[in-house]
Amino acid sequence: MLIKKQNGIPSSEITDEKLYFNRRNFMKAAAVAGAGAAAYAFFSKKSPVVFAQEGKSWKTAHPSNYDTTETLTPYKDVTTYNNFYEFGVDKSDPSENAWRLTTSPWTVEVSGNVKKPAVYHLEDFVKPYALEDRIYRMRCVEGWSMVIPWLGFPLSNIIRRAEPTSKATFVAFQTLYRPDEMIGQKRDVLQWPYVEGLRMDEAMHPLTILAVGLYGKALPKQDGAPLRLVTPWKYGFKGIKSIVKISFVENQPPTTWNLYAPNEYGFYSNVNPNVDHPRWSQARERRIGEFFKRPTLMFNGYGDQVASMYSGMDLRKYF
């Protein structure tokens, strides 16, 4: 198992020295891996790390105990090989077209069955929480994968602040709809705006984060700036980008790819090598930068942490 076991304490409260120093060693090695990794190590040398985006300082990046120690995918690949149909359907389109997006000012609406609905400016939305580095595997439904050092905070923080009522059983997310800037939205390739959803327990899970950066830097626009969801045990498309709305709902919310092809993309979309996509196998994947394919792991290798949420469920039915 590559993922360090959970020990019951929220990772944001952990200052395990051994782990911390292991991280440092790992980051030294990662620095050799590429320019992006070098930038990451540079940011990490200063402790506490001050994360700044467009002049606004956010809190220290914390080490986390959910990291994988696998080789990081180079920064260049993470930022030029993207699926973000709002900017075009080709992998290179997002990095070529996302510059048009205005990410400041940015507001996030928290609404639905909550005691404290609000519309936040992004900086106020993020400010209260300590940012953490989370080195996660990312498995795309198309059969390729990456290892990405995210910078973010657990979604559970937001949920606690919003104080959902007992009616809130699912969390629904929505991407910005602004075809003038998101030029891919001018074509009805998918139904816009992009929407995604999680069951409440999935949303509360400590692995689930809202990311505001990667490689110690502000999230590039093509990777979902300024705020995106990361659920590493699910296929990449569940990680909705450029979020403007988070609402707490009673019923399972619609999700974009499921609306497009319900027989191909389920609501859960947990990484599962045993359940094939109707048009291709999910048994193996190509890690970006590697020649040989590797076997895909159940729940993308996060089974120890997440499998219990799905016990008793037929994962062929609830794919």
């Binding site: 260049k76 030029t80 992998k91 390739v189 094939d276 048009r279 196998s281 190509r286 930068g289 394919k293």
Partner: protein, 221 residues
């Protein structure tokens, strides 16, 4: 003069791919890029091959037929590269995995079939083979290209995730090319019947491609 030049032009997509590969201008997933590029150029060359007859009839530039075989063979060439990329770079000759893959991914089966159907066409593309088969048989055999073209479009349509615009565009082009043939075929069949009734001779000198004649096949050099 024109033919060698065209030959080099047909190699440009491959040259560009190689240049991008060696200079690091492919994406983070180069195997996927190579697969996609060789695949799309196979389909493009098939479409160009099929466009030659209508183009020839519209423009009356009958010399265009001289290039058809070469372009058709380039379709086969890019198809072979595409197939090899799958076997070698994508699957690394993991036959078990390939056998598992084919029924799971119907688009692979369709693509594979389309490729296989091109083999007899490539094999019988020499002057000698045309003579051996005879123009009539050769023409009938080479209608397999229609199946390959349809299969190619289905293969493309089934593999894209959401943006079906491009495969549909190729589908529309094929429909137009086929419609042209059908439109030409009906009057020419009628004409042939009348001609046969009146003269009781074969149509050795007709050049409409849809009528299988020895002359037409041998002119495709």
């Amino acid at each position: 003069m024109l033919k060698p030049f065209l030959f080099l032009v047909c190699l440009l997509p491959l040259a560009l791919l190689a240049w991008q590969g060696f200079t690091g201008h492919l994406s983070a997933n180069p195997i996927s890029d190579i697969t996609n590029e060789t695949g799309i150029w196979t389909l493009r060359f098939i479409v160009i091959t099929l466009a030659i007859t209508p183009l020839r009839q519209i423009t009356k530039l009958h010399a265009l037929i001289k290039f058809r075989r070469m372009i058709g063979l380039f379709a086969f060439f890019y198809g072979s590269l595409h197939f090899t990329t799958y076997l070698w770079l994508d699957q690394f000759f993991d036959w078990q995995s390939i056998l598992r893959d084919i029924p799971k991914r119907p688009f692979i089966l369709v693509g594979f079939t389309s490729f296989i159907l091109m083999i007899p066409l490539a094999v019988t593309s020499t002057k000698k083979m045309i003579r051996r088969l005879g123009g009539k048989k050769w023409n009938v055999l080479h209608r397999l290209v229609y199946a390959t073209a349809i299969g190619g479009v289905i293969h493309y349509y089934w593999l894209v995730k959401a943006d079906t615009g491009r495969p549909i565009t190729y589908g529309i082009i094929l429909v137009v090319l086929f419609a042209f043939r059908v439109w030409k075929l009906v009057p020419s069949r009628l004409a042939r019947r009348q001609f046969e009734l009146s003269t009781r001779t074969s149509l050795a000198n007709r050049t409409i491609e849809t009528i299988p004649t020895r002359n037409d096949a041998t002119s495709a050099e």
